[in-house]
């Protein structure tokens, strides 16, 4: 073979190499290493992130843990993680230096998902064919962000107080998906402004129908119900009434507890028809799990307050060795339901009506709800009231009874004490009584230590006091 043909072959080999290496290199190396990996860019990809029920459904447990619906035995308490033990006793510091607190981390994970979706949506220009879907996704992401922020604010920020909200320390408001962004605590006012703005926008974007087969997805009624809950927690009763009223105008179904199989260990099914949006309290909680785990004993006053004929006593609770325990959840599982449902909206509308002096409207909503909770074997005597104030008292009592273990009691205690209710709550443990005075600084839980560590020294912790 002569040198020319040799050169030819070498030349060819290298041309081939460079052709393959050059032209198709980005195609060749651009292939995903795993088909399950998605770089979220399409509406389908974004929907799949929002459909991650297991990330989206969890809400903090620290509030319910610190409230007064239950007590526990010393041996159960000993089995809890440090955070749960101390939150139950309203200790000054509850974490003992242990970070990775799900009550903080999970809502912020939801916020990251929402922000990734919002950023993804901003890069997609909707057309006539997908405008509705685009709107729904945007509404969903905004709803989820507002929900997460509101849940955080009920635990880690003080109750809304119009006089001081502008200077009270709220939560960190993350609105972009950049994981390296700085964490700065906004004011309580800014926190609520952000929540309300997200929710109002969400309500205008979300579909009107409640997706009864997919309650992990919010709807306009769900956004209105959340709006009513947020306004109520701020003490903005007129706005709360409007939101609740609009919500019930769209969806107002109530279950007849009489038709539920009260003998079953969990009589209420998942996605029951009162549900507007599903979520549960932290699923790995050492405390707030029902379904046959004898962890929490129901507060005796609360348990005694259910009258004969009130089916909530057997639907929500069971007894063992004479003590009342939590049965199961309002969503058919062992976890405590914390989502939005029509019963809560009825109670919000009733409370706001009573506060506005409209006794009849309040009683009307209240009795409408109670009628559905009553055993048909018993005569139902509608609640009556001499005045709007009386009606308000009745509504608050029923609110406690209906919405126990739904994560709302802590928020209610903060709000009502702020208005002067003066409720002191007690937890007994191993023969010792622990108490939490009304409006105590300990109504705001401390920021997790790892979060403070990462944001030293700019981020301040919530002031706490040694318990009484």
């Amino acid at each position: 073979m002569n040198s020319a043909s040799r050169e030819r072959i070498i030349f060819c080999l290298f041309i081939t190499a460079s052709v393959i290496a050059g032209c198709s290199k980005s195609d060749f190396l651009g292939k995903k290493p795993d088909t399950r990996l998605v770089i979220p860019t399409t509406l389908d990809d974004l929907q799949a992130l929002l459909d991650n029920q297991y990330v989206m459904q969890e809400t903090p447990e620290l509030g319910e843990l610190s409230a007064d619906n239950f007590y526990m035995t010393y041996s159960v308490w000993q089995g809890l993680v440090v955070k749960e033990q101390n939150a139950y006793l309203w200790s000054k510091d509850i974490y003992d230096g242990i970070g990775q607190v799900p009550d903080w981390d999970i809502p912020y994970q939801q916020v990251l998902y929402a922000n990734i979706v919002l950023e993804g949506l901003s890069k997609i220009t909707p057309d006539a064919s997908n405008q509705t879907r685009w709107n729904t996704l945007k509404g969903t992401a905004l709803f989820l962000r507002a929900y997460a922020f509101h849940n955080l604010s009920q635990v880690f920020a003080p109750v809304y107080n119009p006089a001081t909200a502008a200077t009270d320390m709220g939560i960190v408001l993350r609105t972009i998906p950049d994981v390296n962004a700085k964490s700065i605590r906004a004011s309580v006012q800014a926190t609520y402004d952000s929540i309300l703005s997200d929710l109002r926008q969400a309500a205008s974007l979300l579909p009107a129908a409640v997706p009864v087969n997919n309650l992990n997805r919010p709807s306009q009624p769900a956004a209105l119900a959340l709006l009513a809950r947020v306004y109520l927690s701020m003490g903005a009763y007129d706005q709360a009434w409007s939101a609740a009223n609009s919500c019930l105008g769209m969806y107002s179904f109530l279950m007849r507890f009489d038709s539920l199989p009260s003998g079953k260990s969990i009589p209420v099914v998942n996605a029951n028809p009162e549900t507007l949006y599903q979520s549960v309290m932290y699923r790995s909680s050492g405390v707030l799990v029902g379904a046959l785990q004898a962890k929490v004993i129901i507060d005796s006053t609360l348990y005694a307050s259910y009258q004969p004929g009130d089916l909530r006593r057997v639907i929500f609770y069971r007894t063992s060795s004479g003590l009342p325990y939590l049965k199961g959840s309002y969503n058919g599982s062992a976890y405590c339901f914390s989502g939005m449902a029509t019963d809560e909206v009825y109670l919000i509308r009733a409370e706001c009506a009573a506060r506005a002096g409209n006794k009849d409207a309040a009683l009307n909503d209240l009795n409408q709800l109670l009628k559905h909770r009553w055993d048909s074997m018993y005569v139902f005597n509608p609640v009556t009231a001499a005045s709007a104030e009386d009606a308000l008292d009745s509504v608050l009592v029923e609110r406690r009874k209906e919405l126990a273990f739904r994560g709302l009691r802590w928020s209610d205690l903060r709000r009502l004490n702020n208005e002067g209710a003066g409720d002191t709550i007690y937890h007994g443990l191993n023969g010792q009584a622990h108490r939490l005075s009304p409006n105590s600084l300990n109504y705001v839980l401390p920021i997790p230590p790892d979060v403070l560590d990462f944001n030293k020294p700019a981020m301040l912790n919530n002031p706490r006091v040694d318990p009484d």
Binding site: I10, L37, V38, L49, G99, Q109, R174, S183, R217
Partner: protein
């Protein structure tokens, strides 16, 4: 084959055609010159200017050149050259567009020749050296045995020298071609692992010219052991390579480590190369009888050719091939291996008598009351049932105390293992081609009843010399089919030690596993499926079979462009497919239990079945297609006796496309052979366990894709045969990191030097004829498939409660993600005494793992708590000593092979520290601690037993304490580091004796410098039926004063998990791992040829081999084999075999 590969192939063809036609139009450049009495240099410079042709050569040519007068116009440059060189004392050669100029010495002859052995087979790699009064010149034979050497008239002879052949001197008297036949050296037994060329998978580097570190397992050593798996044959005979025996799942540990650990979360496995390409299939597919030799590449220079895959070392397996001019040879090997039943009594457990005593104590304290009254009827052990029934208790318990479950287990679940091996191969070759064909069959009947492994392997390899000494084509095809039956899990689902498996009538007996037996006897009023668990029925109804197929096609075309310069294309396609079919019929407890659990009472005493009654089939299909393509130019040229350059440059593409499809089918019956669908989204209330659950969904479908583009170059320059400089560089690009990350890719490189001191003039030590010093430094890389530069969400493959597929954010985007880099320095000394009585090498190395994949904690407010990226560093250092001694060389030969290695790693950077000491005791998590080996044994301070209660005493703030929750939650500073969890100092001592036709060898292996945690009594687990207990129970503290001679805590009235955890992780249970083991013995006998003269057989060898013989010494005093802390030791096996050559 992926579409990209077809495209690449078509492009290659197209290019060949296209460029040939373009190139043919060009013609030889012409020159115009007019010079008078000019220096040759000047004329050649003018030619270069006009043609672009360059000149090079020995620097002295310009001084001896005559002046030139030339006048030409538009003539081809070759014509001009012939004028210039006319009558010059010079000659010239064309070397690919360049002109090489040589000074013609008084007599300067080119001698070409071949070196063949007695069987007329070519001898590659032999050295050809001139002898005479002139300066010696050297050449080497190529793969076909050919060489060319320049000789001067003063040379009188040439000497052919080679490792495996006797040196031969041929007188030289001016001939131009020569054929030399050499005679094989008398076969040395068990050749030292330090000889032979390094097969890197890209090239063969002769030992004399290696700067890097590699060790070799020659064929004799591979054949020495009898095993089904090729990897087993490397255990205990390979320097610096250790098999990790106590691998804990979930801690990213590899079963094989070469020179210690240098990654944390990345791939921990060495790269396995078979012939030219990485092996993508299951290594157990390879038939060890097809392997000729194994080379382990250890340092940067040896391994860096594999770039990003080489960080954990490279194991290169070379398959057997035929040879040119070799008669057809048949080889037949067969062996039969029989193994004992494993020793079920090795793991100490609580005796039946003691177990019953504990249960009685618990029963009396009311411990079981909650279980007895539990509406879910959880299982109660036979003893508790007897106590509850309260009828003839003492008699019944006494008879139970006589029973040991292991007796029945050993009888019904275990059997002696039997492995059969058959292998037939034939090889041979003519002038123009050679071939190797083999077929192998292995049948391994496991020591677990109903478990078996069958493997069939086929191989065919051909080499054609298309144009002799110019173009060579090699093809290989191999096919493997194996079937594994996995029907026996080796135990039963209950921890109490006194159960029998058959009743008095020989019928399989039911035992309480999930539910109480009295409950199971009556539950469902015959409307549920039988809910009994009978271990023997389970064993016989199991039907789990995995079928595996692997096809590998390999072709390479090599073209010798010029002496020493060759181009080659390598291509390999591999397809693997494994199908596991786990058929759980309705007879199996798993299926009956699942169906019954989900059965929903219909209110009329009957049941509805969310999971339709029928068999359950789990099918897992795992397949892959791998394509590899490599283009390579190699250059190997001896410019003069003093200068030799060996270089290669290439480009490589790899694409492995994988696919996993797991499906479960419920409700298979004869009338519904395809099963009945179930509603996975529905939550069912399981009344018998009191929980709510969905029907388990085992479907999983996804594909994987690993793609790599690599560019590499490698060169070694040898000066005066004693100074060697080597360098290599490689760049890898992959789809794992995305294209952006690749653009910033880090090239990996290495350099090396070697100095053969013994070739220096001043070297006078005759007793040590070889002394060579070498050192290398460079970077290897490593891959972590679990991370990606993309912002990635991962589809879960499952539906949420509402029937929607959902995805999760895996890791936030990490565009700066890069390869793990392992910087490695190696220095080695090779030596050999006179007559090779002692030869060996000693090496020291240090490895720095940089940019290792690790985790960094993030502000959780960002939405992620940890971030996985290049955030960790490690360092490993150690040495390897390999020594081969010929102690006796007479009629009785005695050879020793010593392998001694040391390697110890240390984490030097890691961003996440566990909040408390417990993080370091979780067996299934990998929690590195800076300053210590990645796998370390840590312990808690022990302050004895409480003299009053026998409670174990821990330490809080320097004081004895029993607040176990506080001790376990203490900060990391209270940890005591005991030592590494893996051997740091290990090796083997192999003895081989040879007398007449007999050969006896045995191998002693040792492992030192590590620790392990001994199992002891765990009361909490024992009380709750989760543990079989420990005989340490008998040593427990019982009375005050016992604390003076025991460390076993007292039996608590109420078990406390934290108390057990503290004791378990305390210093007192830490043991030294060091031990010495007699691994195996082999005896072989070669039948003398005279006894079968009439048979058409060339050689007959019988051998006996015994493996796993026993421990000779161990540091611990508890009779624990540290290779088997939580499992049963490998039973002893004995093999008889026979090898025939026709």
């Amino acid at each position: 084959m992926g579409s990209t590969k077809w495209l690449a192939f078509i492009v290659l063809i197209a290019c060949l055609h296209g460029s040939i036609s373009v190139y043919c139009q060009s013609s030889e450049p012409t020159v115009t010159l007019s010079e008078k009495n000019a220096t040759l240099e000047k004329v050649l410079t003018a030619i270069r200017r006009q043609t672009g042709i360059t000149f090079f050569g020995e620097s002295s040519w310009a001084q001896v050149a005559h002046r030139v007068t030339i006048s030409v116009k538009d003539v081809p440059y070759t014509e001009a050259l012939s004028v210039c060189f006319k009558n010059q004392p010079l000659r010239y050669e064309m070397v690919d567009g360049a002109i090489s100029i040589h000074v013609i010495r008084t007599k300067d002859y080119l001698l070409k020749g071949y070196v063949l052995n007695e069987k007329q087979e070519p001898v590659p790699g032999a050295t050809v050296i001139s002898r005479g009064r002139g300066k010696p010149s050297t050449a080497f034979t190529d793969e076909l045995g050919g060489f060319s050497i320049f000789l001067s008239g003063q040379d009188t002879s040439i000497v052919i020298a080679s490792i495996s052949y006797e040196p031969k001197e041929i007188p030289y008297s001016g001939q131009t071609e020569i054929k030399v036949e050499v005679r094989a050296k008398v076969v040395e037994l068990a050749e030292a692992s330090v000889v032979g060329p390094a097969h890197t998978g890209y090239q063969d580097v002769p030992k004399e010219r290696a700067t890097g570190s590699y060790s070799q397992v020659p064929n004799a050593v591979i054949e020495r052991r009898v095993s089904t798996s090729v990897m087993d044959r490397l255990d205990g005979v390979t320097s610096s390579l250790i098999f990790n025996k106590n691998v804990v799942p979930g801690t990213n540990q590899s079963t094989i480590t070469i020179r210690g650990r240098s990654t944390i979360l990345g791939n921990p496995d060495p790269l396995i190369v078979v012939d030219n390409f990485p092996y993508s299939g299951n290594i157990n597919n390879i038939n060890p009888e097809d392997i000729e030799s194994v080379t382990v590449l250890k340092d940067a220079a040896a391994a860096s050719i594999w770039g990003a895959f080489s960080g954990n070392g490279v194991i290169v397996m070379t398959t057997k091939k035929g040879k040119y001019n070799q008669r057809m040879k048949w080889n037949f090997t067969t062996s039969l291996t029989v193994g004992e039943k494993p020793n079920l009594y090795y793991q100490p457990i609580l005796s039946s008598k003691d177990y019953i005593e504990v249960e009685r104590f618990l029963y009396d304290s009311g411990f079981y009351n909650a279980k007895i009254n539990d509406f879910r009827h959880p299982a109660l052990s036979p003893v508790v049932e007897i106590l509850l029934a309260n009828n003839n208790v003492q008699y019944k318990l006494d008879s139970l105390a006589q029973i040991d479950t292991r007796r029945d287990l050993k009888k019904y679940f275990y059997q002696p293992s039997v492995s059969q091996l058959y292998d037939l191969n034939l090889s041979g070759g003519g002038k123009r081609d050679h071939y190797f064909v083999s077929a192998g069959y292995n049948k391994d009947v496991s020591n677990l009843v109903r478990n078996q492994f069958d493997r069939k392997t086929f191989n065919i390899s051909n080499t054609w010399s298309i144009v002799p000494r110019k173009v060579e084509l090699r093809t290989d095809a191999s096919y493997v089919n194996s079937v594994t039956w996995n029907n026996n899990i080796g135990g039963i689902n209950a921890n109490y030690p006194y159960t029998t498996l058959k009743d008095a009538n020989g019928m399989p007996l039911a035992i309480a596993s999930d539910f109480r037996l009295p409950f199971v006897d009556t539950v469902g009023d015959k409307k549920l499926l039988d809910w009994h668990y009978r271990p023997l029925d389970e064993l016989h109804n199991a039907n789990d079979k995995t079928e595996l197929k692997d096809l590998r096609l390999n072709a390479s075309l090599r073209y010798n462009i010029w002496d020493g310069l060759s181009a080659a294309v390598f291509y390999q396609y591999e397809h693997g497919r494994s199908v596991e079919n786990n058929f759980q019929s309705i007879k199996t407890y798993y299926t009956r239990n699942l169906l019954n659990s989900y059965a929903q009472p219909d209110g009329n005493g009957g049941y509805t079945w969310p999971v339709s009654p029928g068999d359950i089939r789990d099918k897992s299909i795992n397949r892959f297609d791998a394509n590899n393509l490599r283009l390579q130019l190699s250059f190997d040229h001896v410019f003069s006796p003093n200068h030799r350059l060996n270089a290669l440059v290439g480009w490589e593409l790899r694409d492995i496309e994988g696919r996993i499809d797991n499906t479960r089918t419920y409700g298979i019956t004869p009338s519904t052979p395809d099963g009945v669908g179930v509603d996975y989204s529905m939550q069912y209330y399981l009344s018998y366990s009191g929980s709510v659950a969905k029907i388990p969904n085992q479907d999983l479908h996804y594909g994987t894709s690993d793609r790599f583009l690599s560019y590499y170059a490698n060169a070694a320059y040898t000066f005066r045969q004693r100074y060697i400089v080597s360098a290599s560089a490689r760049r890898d690009e992959s789809n794992l990191f995305g294209v952006n990350a690749n653009q910033k890719g880090v090239p990996l490189w290495s350099t090396g030097v070697a100095w053969d001191i013994s070739r220096e003039g001043f070297y006078k030590m005759g007793w040590l004829p070889l002394l060579k010093l070498r050192a290398t430094y460079g970077y290897n890389g490593n891959v972590d498939r679990s991370v990606s530069a993309y912002t990635t969400a991962q589809m879960s493959g499952f539906q949420n409660d509402y029937g929607q597929f959902y995805s999760s954010i895996v890791n936030p985007p990490n565009p700066s993600l890069t390869w793990e880099k392992i910087g490695m320095f190696n220095v080695g000394l090779d030596f050999a005494s006179k007559n090779n009585r002692i030869e060996g090498s000693l090496e020291y190395f240090i490895k720095h793992g940089k940019d290792l994949i690790g985790q960094t904690a993030m502000d959780p407010t960002s939405g992620v708590t940890t971030f996985t990226g290049n955030a960790a560093n490690m360092v490993v250092h150690g040495f390897d000593l390999a020594l081969h001694t010929r102690n006796l060389t007479g009629k009785l030969k005695w050879v020793n092979d010593w392998l001694i290695s040391y390697a110890k790693d240390r984490v030097t950077r890691y961003a996440v520290t566990q909040p408390s000491v417990t993080g370091f005791f979780h067996v299934n998590s990998l929690n590195p601690l800076v300053g210590y080996p990645l796998y370390s044994i840590y312990a808690l301070k022990w302050r004895g037993l409480d003299p009053k209660s026998g409670d174990p005493l821990g330490d809080i703030g320097g004081k004895a304490d029993t607040t176990y929750s506080a001790i376990l939650n203490a900060s990391v500073s209270s940890l005591i580091y005991k030592g590494p969890a893996n051997p740091t100092f290990f090796g083997s001592w192999r003895n081989t004796f040879n007398w007449k036709q007999y050969e006896l060898s045995f191998n002693i292996v040792f492992k030192m410098g590590y620790y392990f945690r001994r199992n002891s009594i765990q009361y909490y687990a024992l009380y709750n039926g989760a543990s079989k207990g420990s005989p340490d129970y008998d040593l427990r503290w019982q009375n005050p004063g016992d604390e003076n001679f025991t460390n076993v805590p007292s039996r608590p009235a109420k078990a406390n998990q934290n108390r057990d955890d503290f004791y378990d992780n305390s210093e007192v249970l830490i043991e030294k791992g060091g031990h010495v083991r007699l691994q195996d013995i082999r005896l072989s006998y070669d039948l003398p040829k005279r006894s079968y003269l009439r048979l058409p057989v060339q050689a007959i060898r019988f051998y006996f081999y015994a493996n796993n013989i026993g421990i000779l010494w161990r540091a611990n005093h508890h009779n624990i084999d540290p290779d088997f802390i939580n499992s049963l030791p490998n039973p002893r096996t004995m093999a008889l075999g026979c090898r025939l050559e026709f």
